[in-house]
Structures are given as C-alpha cells and as structure tokens.
C-alpha cells in the first residue's frame, strides 16, 4: 500500500516537472526508483526503459512498466495515473484560455528560455543511462553506433533497437 502511495508521489511530481517531455525526467526517475526507494538496480531500470522504448505508444510508458515491476497491475495503473494526472488537469484547465494568450511574446520567451535546461537534463539522462547499460566493449559499441546512426541518418529508432538486441545476443 505504501508503495502505491510512493509511486503516485514520484510520478505525480515528475508529471509537473516534465518540461519538454518525458526524457528530461529520466535522471530524477532513476534517482527516485533506484537510489531513494531502492525498488530496483540501475541495470533493471535501464532494461525497463529500453522495453518501453521498444513497445508502441507514448514514451511515458516507462512509468507504467516501473509501476508494474514495483507493485503489479495496481502499481502500473497508479504510476501511469501519477505520470499523466497533474499535467492533464493543467492542460484541461488551460486549453480553453489558450487562444487568448497564444500570441503573447512572453510565451516565446519562456519556451526559448527553457531549451538549455531541457538540453542539460536530456544529456544527463543519456549519460546516466549509458553508464548503466555499458558492461563492456560490445554494449559500449552498440550505444555509440546507435547514437551515431540515429544522429546522422533517417534510420527508424525501432530498427536500431532490434539491431542492438541481436548484436547483444550474438556478440556478448
């Protein structure tokens, strides 16, 4: 029961802090789930994140999977509701007002001003995940090649995930 409360608290806070999407919240998600509450080790966290990426749907599905791992189906539901609840209430209550201030200059100022923070957070997420998933030359190579291919070409991310899985199974 206390786990459900914790899950709601963790993901409810992340929901409000998810400025620029879910990716910038990954470091905090890992900190809470791995370091603070010790629900899993960071390798498992990285594996769950990878599974969520390999599945269809919005990329917040990692919260569902973490909730499920911690407390089964109720955990999955509570974590999902936490991740989308607060931000959804905010969206719902803002959507009617939006057209009134959409052209205001401050909106652009705020949006542009948050970009550097988002870049730092996603970069931190990338560094933390990569350090959890690197166990040797093969995994390091998979991460580097995937990053390079996705940066330089139009290759579909899912194809690179599949290639990574096969390469890991065969080479490691």
């Amino acid at each position: 029961m206390s786990e459900l409360g914790h899950l709601l608290g963790i993901f409810g806070q992340l929901s409000v802090l998810a400025v620029g999407g879910v990716a910038p919240t990954l470091p905090e998600m890992q900190r809470q789930v791995v370091d603070v509450h010790r629900y899993m080790d960071r390798t498992t966290f990285a594996a769950l994140f990878a599974l969520a990426q390999a599945a269809p749907g919005p990329n917040m599905m990692v919260s569902t999977l973490i909730g499920w791992r911690v407390a089964g189906l109720p955990g999955a539901i509570v974590a999902t509701v936490g991740m989308i609840g607060p931000s959804s209430v905010l969206t719902f209550s803002t959507v009617q007002l939006w057209h009134r201030f959409r052209e205001r200059a401050w909106r652009r100022v705020v949006q542009a001003g948050l970009v550097p923070v988002t870049v730092g957070l996603v970069g931190a997420g990338a560094a933390l995940l990569a350090s959890s998933t690197t166990h040797g030359l093969v995994t390091a190579g998979i991460t580097l090649v995937t990053a390079a291919v996705l940066t330089l070409t139009k290759m579909h991310p899912l194809a690179m995930l599949a290639i990574g899985a096969v390469a890991g199974a065969l080479l490691a």
């Binding site: 999407g21 599974l51 931000s87 001003g113 988002t118």
Partner: protein, 190 residues
C-alpha cells in the same frame, strides 16, 4: 507516400467527433506509434478524421508542448476537452493508453520470465545499450539549436552537472534553473 494534389481542393468540413470516434482514433495511434506518437496523431486528427484544421492542430500542439507532461497525452486531453469536455478527455487518454499499457506489461512479463537465460539476457543488454544510444541521439538533436549560443550552452552544462554529476533532485534544480534560464536567455538571446 503519394504527393499531395496541387489542384486547390475545397476545404473539407470539420466535424466534432463523438466519444466512440475519439476512442477509436486515439486507440489507433496508440498501437501504431512506435518511437513517438505525435506524427501519427497529426495524420489522424487533421488528415484522416478531420477533427481539426492544420492551424488548429499546430495551436493545440504548441500548448501541449508548452505545458509540462507527456506531449501526446496533453494533446489527447486537449482534443477530448474541445470535442466533449471532461468525458471526452478521459475517453481519449484511455483510448491512447489501454493497448500500449497491456503490450508493455506483456513485454515486462517476458523479461521477468526469460531474462535469466544467458542469450536472452545478452539480447536485453544489447537492447538497453541501443536505447541509451537513442537518448544520446535525442540529446544531440535537441542541443543543435544551441550552436554558438554561449549563454545557452553554459546553462545546459550547469543543468547537466547538477543532475548527472551532483545527482541533485530535479524539483529544486528546476525551481532555481528554469527562471534563471528564462531571464538569461531573454538578456542574451540565441
């Protein structure tokens, strides 16, 4: 993909969707949306089902990206609210999430059950490494507008250090850095 017709066609009628239509529409993009649902959402809402015009979609998307939270979830909430109020929002978000939730839990079950077999474990390690690469690529992509924007680069490095190296909690970091970043970027724009 066939080319869009160059002959100007009369603007198609936009229609306010019912609850069943909202559910089916978002259910459809939930199951096909591998690696990002937003492009599919646009196709479904604007081109296929004609719930909103392209301009309205852009406006809605701008709000959803501006507000915190998963963007595509916000989009489903906004679309549902517009068409059918609170119930509409709930129906859209449920339609969007129900299939992906079941699929992802199914995958989690497979991982739990077979993750101990060496070749499967190595496959999962490879998958996880590739997923890390995906986030690295994402970081590179969103960092590209910061080229030669020195103030922005410094802020990004400070945020990176605070979270990745010092492991500070996100809430206080954001409370301090978000307003500072907005002020600094306003004073020294890109």
């Amino acid at each position: 993909m066939p080319e869009a017709p160059t002959v100007p066609t009369p603007a198609p009628e936009l229609s306010a969707p019912g609850l069943a239509s909202l559910f089916v529409g978002f259910f459809g993009i939930g199951i096909v949306g591998f690696g990002g649902v937003l492009p599919w959402a646009r196709r479904m809402m604007v081109d296929q089902r004609r719930w909103v015009s392209s301009a309205e979609f852009n406006d809605m998307l701008a709000l959803c990206q501006f507000l915190p939270g998963p963007n595509v979830i916000n989009l489903s909430i906004a679309m549902g609210a517009r068409a059918r109020g609170v119930v509409g929002s709930l129906v859209c978000v449920l339609g969007l999430l129900v299939a992906p939730m079941m699929i992802v839990i199914g995958l989690g079950g497979l991982y739990q059950r077979y993750g101990g077999i060496p070749i499967v474990a190595h496959g999962f390690a490879g998958l996880a490494a590739a997923a890390s690469g995906l986030v690295v690529a994402m970081a590179v992509k969103i960092a590209s507008p910061l080229q030669r924007h020195w103030a922005g680069i410094v802020i990004a490095l400070v945020a990176f250090a605070a979270i990745a190296l010092l492991r500070l909690p996100l809430l206080p970091t954001m409370v301090i850095m978000a307003p500072l970043s907005i002020l600094i970027c306003r004073r020294f724009p890109a």
